[in-house]
Subunit: 146 residues, 2 copies
Amino acid sequence: MRAADLLVPYPTVTLSTPAIEAARILADADLPGLIVVDDRGAPFAVLPGTQVLRLAVPIYCQDDPALTYMVDEAAADVFVRELGDRTVRDLLPPQPHELPVVSPQATALEIAALMARTRSPLVAVVDGGLQGAVTLHGLLDRVLAA
Amino acid sequence: MRAADLLVPYPTVTLSTPAIEAARILADADLPGLIVVDDRGAPFAVLPGTQVLRLAVPIYCQDDPALTYMVDEAAADVFVRELGDRTVRDLLPPQPHELPVVSPQATALEIAALMARTRSPLVAVVDGGLQGAVTLHGLLDRVLAA
């Protein structure tokens, strides 16, 4: 089995998508992460769910736990409101050296090793344009049944 | 809202659980990750789904993509069989400096920042013993509705 056999259609966001909308897409469809595409529809970034959540965490809290302790419970409940109308582009974390992207020919083992190495529960499948994504659970279900 | 309000009961595995069984638990219950507890029931590790998958990726393939390309499709389909009866203890990756574990008093913002920082889509909630876990999607649903 190859990426072509494992991929599923997958929603995308763009660099201009408001970050709050990206978080809602992730939450509403219970996705493991999001694919951010550029103007030509090619994957620009693949964000695991934790890194979509990171878009919504105020910059001053991202790396310093001590600062999060100083925010009271009422304000901590509504931290996503601080996002305002900022876009994915405004908040995108530095991109890793290796994007979780494969060709349709990638084997199950190649995809598993890539997910483990990049800590990404989804990989984008690209052949010219974006063909879809392989999710961690989609892959696991298939390899455990093999 | 605090971790105590956000936590859900969460399955655990131990260091002696066969790695293949851990992968099955993750897949069957569609979990974002697994909590590995020690003999006293305290969290020893919190493994995001990608790191549970990593348990099943042969060591020689984990860091070197070139080696995965050399495995043919038929063998790549059944890579999990190489696990044999090895346990979570045998295959556990080096543990990060910071475990995604909070007290029941942690705020939504503290939990979100911790998930983003540790790249873990679940955090264990501990008060004496393990009380449960907060998942990324459970947290997102609540903070987006707040």
